[in-house]
């Protein structure tokens, strides 16, 4: 198993932490993982993206140029990363913020109205977790439970009350692609 995942969106949409959670969860499952942010000149506002590699064997290169999975949270990210996806790869599109349609036909496309669902369950901030739920359901590389476990380790105790909400978001996301 080797998944090379790119996650991209606006700064503030939680794409960095989505990637870190994935990496953390992979580590908890004793997989090989790596996370690389793009720390470009676009540090203020603008787009943000990161790459996560999860593998059962030693990771040769943690740099992802041809992702097997791509999660785009906004329109500029769709434009930028759609062409890079590996043939046969997966593209997850946050349709709440992206009305354009992907053009590639050699990849599988999943359309998730992540913000809408997040608002539904009461907090627009968990749109990223909705997205993640859908991704995990498809790729099966990581157990959702490991994500929650990671959250427990990463969040300070006083914010553990947010975990059920996140669980719900993961769940809802998964449902979208079942």
């Amino acid at each position: 198993m080797l998944e090379e995942i790119v996650i991209a969106g606006f700064g503030g949409q939680g794409v960095m932490s989505m990637g870190q959670l994935l990496a953390y969860a992979g580590m908890l499952e004793n997989k090989q993982v790596a996370w690389i942010p793009s720390y470009g000149p676009e540090m203020r506002g603008g787009t943000a993206n990161c790459a996560v590699t999860i593998s059962n064997t030693e990771i040769s290169s943690p740099l992802v140029t041809e992702p097997s999975v791509c999660i785009v949270m906004n329109k500029p990210s769709l434009d930028k990363f759609e062409p890079t996806i590996k043939t046969g790869g997966l593209l997850f599109v946050n349709t709440s913020l992206i009305d354009a349609k992907p053009k590639r036909e050699d990849i599988s496309i999943y359309e998730i109205p992540a913000n809408a669902i997040a608002n539904e369950i009461g907090n627009s901030k968990v749109a990223n977790m909705v997205m993640l739920g859908a991704v995990l359901e498809v790729i099966k590389a990581i157990e959702p439970e490991s994500i929650l476990e990671s959250l427990r380790k990463v969040l300070p105790p006083q914010r553990h009350n947010l975990i059920p909400l996140n669980a719900q978001a993961l769940q809802k996301g998964a449902e979208m692609v079942r």
Partner: protein, 351 residues
């Protein structure tokens, strides 16, 4: 499992702490700033000192003072900041003091960019500063290795009384990977009888690199030369990957070595017998190890994020015995494994 997921910069900082480093002097610069930031929190917890210096020059001279005073001490910066430390590094090497210097390289020359690069290889290995001195230069390719080499770096620095440089790039600094800190805190640091601690109960100690009499300085430099010779004999480090039957050998360090490793896999999938030679010590350059894997090698392709620097050491090591070629990206661009694969294919054709 004792693994934690950490950024390269932070893991390296924690490794220094585990190695017994209690003094850090530095100045912010992207892409290494997480390192001082981490230590600004960590040092006070363990009774150490984090001091943000007024400049890179002040920082390296504080390191010079602290090291002379017997401390395990570190500084870190990125390319332009390392240039500013050149004089101080030459002094520290000249005065035979141990310390660890981290350079997380970014694109140059000049202000360049904050994106990753490997354009400071020459500066690190041939001497950015004036005069005959050498740094031990270690180039980790993963966060775990950054941790392990940092811990070794402090020991090597003390062993040889010479500064050791950890040479990474922005990617290594920013990347998160699981790491394990294998060492528990090292409490038995070497005793430094030469350090300035106050002359109580002994003759006075002097930390110095000045020898006004040329004859004396020559003796001193020749002694340094002996030490460098010893390092060349004992401290070469390299890793090889699929070199046993390799016909095309890639040579790359740090971040590019990982790109190349993947390129080797891709090449093997296409039936090309590629292998990878990865120097871990850049100085001393692991020439013995390289010479040993030349067996079936028909050509060596050096891949760097520079216009071609390590390639010179590769050529010096093979001394004309094998043809060499070079592929590089610069200015913050990172070569992709596919690019390297294409280069391998093209190179193979002209061999």
């Amino acid at each position: 499992m004792n693994k934690v997921l950490m950024k390269g910069n932070e893991a390296l900082a924690e490794a220094a702490v585990r190695a017994g480093c209690r003094y850090f002097f530095g100045y912010p610069i992207t892409p290494q700033t997480e390192l001082p930031q981490y230590l600004s929190k960590r040092m006070p917890e363990i009774g150490g000192v984090f001091l943000q210096a007024e400049s890179e020059i002040a920082a390296i001279n504080m390191v010079y003072g602290a090291s002379g005073a017997g401390a395990r001490v570190m500084t870190s910066s990125s390319s332009p900041g390392i240039s500013l430390k050149a004089e101080g590094i030459s002094y520290i090497a000249g005065a035979e003091l141990p310390c660890v210097i981290v350079n997380m390289m970014r694109g140059g020359p000049g202000l360049g960019t904050i994106q990753p690069a490997q354009g400071d290889y020459f500066q690190a290995t041939k001497g950015g500063g004036h005069g005959d001195y050498k740094l031990l230069v270690l180039a980790p390719a993963s966060v775990q290795e950054a941790v392990d080499l940092t811990i070794q770096a402090f020991d090597l620095a003390d062993k040889y009384r010479n500064p050791v440089m950890i040479l990474g790039d922005g990617i290594l600094g920013q990347m998160m990977e699981p790491v394990e800190f294998k060492l528990t805190e090292n409490n038995e640091l070497p005793v430094k009888e030469w350090a300035t601690t106050g002359k109580k109960g002994r003759k006075k100690n002097i930390i110095n690199s000045l020898y006004l009499q040329a004859e004396k300085l020559e003796q001193h430099v020749n002694r340094l030369a002996d030490k460098f010779g010893e390092m060349e004999a004992k401290e070469q480090k390299a890793e090889t990957y699929l070199t046993d039957d390799a016909e095309i050998l890639l040579a790359a360090y740090g971040t590019t070595s990982r790109v190349c490793r993947k390129a080797v896999d891709m090449a093997r999938e296409e039936g090309i017998k590629a292998g990878l030679f990865r120097p871990i010590s850049l100085w001393p350059f692991p020439e013995y190890a390289l010479q040993q894997v030349l067996g079936r090698v028909k050509g060596i392709l050096t891949v760097e994020m520079s216009l071609g620097q390590m390639i010179e050491d590769v050529r010096l090591a093979v001394n004309g015995k094998v043809p060499t070629d070079f592929y590089g990206r610069v200015g913050g661009m990172v070569p992709t494994s596919r690019d390297v694969l294409e280069k391998i294919v093209a190179f193979r054709e002209v061999l």
